[in-house]
Subunit: 399 residues, 2 copies
């Protein structure tokens, strides 16, 4: 039994990453080699482009432009925050039928996997033969089943490097520095700041993730203790850091925040949390030099600084999705990575049903969190191969 011949649609969804176009290019390349795919249509702005029938034919894009696009951060096709319901998914299916689409490759996170799942089910019910593959991407690294997600390694590399440099800055002009890192529910990206530590005494000295609720009292006591011992303190904190009970710190301090279609309160793209925490330290601890930075969108969009492993894997999972779409019996799933070993780092790909990845996310394992303010070596071993080479640092105390 060979795969049905027809057209394919590829789309990109959710918050972009700096390697999401590696996945797009992986799909395009592999579709050239795949006998079962006629046209490859790029949906502009994800599901929105599918229902609006805004497609770009992608097979004709020249190889040298493809290579440049692969290195470009953010979704080359455009992304979307639309969260399709059943009716919206029905419109997606109608568009697919109209354009004889038999293969759908959707690059995104858990919400995109859920959209993919619904569309697959609707097509099956309607008797429209359609294979649906989810290609993972998220800097949050929070997809269930997946060892890790393309996009995370590069964002983590950016964070680790930024914190390495910032730690030197903080040592130059001592004070308290608070770096706010992306991550609404999952602390993986903030945890990656631990990779910035090279030697005893290096920052970050305190790391706070959403998984470990944090009271104002503990935060201040932690900072005071570090500051007393070192005359400086570098703090890395997730934008999604929570008070006990579940509310985010940001929700407790800010009003009039944006809420998106997924009912998420806006945490990124504003500096309120960092300013608030810095203010607390100034006022309650009486420390004079206190600064905060919110790393913001640079974490997912900074160009020319991606992790090589991450870039490679982002393309690989996409190529594999197209390959599997041509194999009998493989009609739906998310292309996942399984870690065979840490050292040497080795990954195998496997296909996991969309339902196992859709909707729910996973949190940073409890074993990676220490004392509510630190990240373990076990996490560093997990994350280091994904991030790759970090910048060279030298200090005068190494004389």
């Amino acid at each position: 039994m060979s795969a049905i011949k027809g057209n394919a649609v590829v789309g990109q969804s959710g918050g972009p990453t700096s390697v999401i176009n590696q996945s797009l290019v992986g799909v395009i390349e592999e579709c050239h080699r795949a006998g079962h795919i006629d046209q490859l249509l790029g949906a502009q702005h994800g599901v929105r482009g599918i229902v609006d029938e805004k497609f770009i034919p992608l097979k004709s894009v020249k190889a040298d432009l493809l290579e440049r696009i692969a290195q470009t951060p953010a979704a080359a096709l455009g992304s979307t925050r639309d969260k399709p319901d059943q009716a919206y998914c029905q419109r997606i299916l109608e568009s697919f039928k109209k354009h004889n689409v038999r293969y759908f490759f959707y690059i995104g996170g858990n919400d995109s996997a859920d959209t993919a799942r619904i569309v697959y089910e609707l097509a099956k019910q309607a008797g429209h033969e359609l294979s649906v593959f989810h290609i993972p991407k998220t800097i949050d690294n929070d997809l269930r089943v997946h060892d890790h997600c393309p996009g995370f390694g590069s964002a983590a590399r950016f964070v680790a490097a930024a914190v390495m440099g910032d730690d030197r800055d903080n040592a130059s002009l001592p004070g308290v520095k608070i770096d706010v890192i992306m991550g609404r529910n999952a602390g993986y990206l903030t945890a990656a700041s631990v990779l910035a530590r090279r030697r005893e005494g290096d920052g970050p000295h305190l790391i706070y993730v959403p998984e470990a609720p944090l009271t104002e009292e503990k935060f201040l006591a932690d900072v005071q203790a570090v500051y007393k011992a070192k005359n400086r303190c570098l703090v890395c904190v997730s934008e999604g850091v929570r008070v006990p009970g579940g509310q985010t710190w940001t929700e407790t301090i800010a009003s009039g925040l944006d809420v998106d279609a997924h009912k998420n309160v806006q945490l990124s793209g504003l500096g309120a949390l960092g300013d608030h925490m810095a203010d607390l330290v100034k006022k309650k601890l009486g420390i004079k030099r206190v600064r905060s930075d919110t790393f913001g969108y640079l974490q997912r969009s900074f160009p020319g600084f991606t992790s090589q492993v991450d870039s490679h894997e982002a393309r690989w999972v996409a190529q594999q999705a197209v390959k599997w779409s041509g194999e009998p019996g493989k009609t739906e799933g998310s292309v996942a990575m399984k870690r065979v070993s840490d050292s040497p780092y080795k990954i195998e790909l496997f296909l996991t049903p969309l339902s196992t990845v859709a909707r729910e996310t996973k949190s940073l394992e409890a074993a990676y969190i220490e004392g509510g303010n630190n990240i373990t070596d076990a996490f560093a071993r997990y994350a280091r191969p994904l991030v790759g080479e970090l910048p060279v640092i030298g200090t005068l105390d190494e004389i």
Copy 2:
């Protein structure tokens, strides 16, 4: 007449840069070759370390560590925000006498040049033979006489790259994005965001510098016009952006801000300006997706992403300072760059009296500013050679 033999002190001052250690290493290397310098003492935390007699002997640092230090952002010796008055400078002189210091190399901005000038004058009055050299560094690029300053090119490269990536992110998920860039009085660094434009339509679409006062009305009208035409808008704005009359936007919105020893109000290390501008756009223009990022300290401390030209020049000016210190008649000055040509890019070094660089700073030339919201091609020609290679970008509209 040959130079007096004695010890030398090197110090680093003010806000660090990502290449300030290239200058430190340049001094160390050249002191090895210089016959007139016995010991080279590194002052910890600038002038503070001189008066506290906290010195590190630097001639013994091994070459491989020196190379790592050269690549490390932020002041390896530690920096200071102390702004010495006459009495403080007198204590510096006493320390120099005590340690037989005959050469003082001070890496810093205009304030450091002023300190260097005062110490030189005091030494002359006291009959203590002392040569004083200012080695320029500032990401603000605001030193008078100097064509440009070491530290600027790397910070500008970071800004240009960040904006290139952010522009793609903004195109992926359209809305209004506001990027706040360092620069209290001088708009050079914010102006460097213009280098992010590769093709017609690319952001940044609006660029605001402190030199062009900006009313709330003009800001909102500008954003509305761009958003109407493009369905998105990327704004780059200096942290020091001013309302007509001289007050910064930050001063008009924030209270309880830090004031440093130089009587500067804290503008960096907080997100208030970006949040305020984003809020304005949301509320007054009714645009839903509005985000801001404050690039913060990453601009001066991000490692592994420096400009090659900038790294080279930072070391070169420092080496030249030590060389000139051994030449007859050269007893004080700031090592400045003069641009011989743009293309091919060619620089010559010269020594300018400390008084010509001390205290006052320079602003972005009026000819580089266009319509109060844009930066000219002439500026791009000026800045491009300093920044060097920028990341590769490719977009699907290039098909």
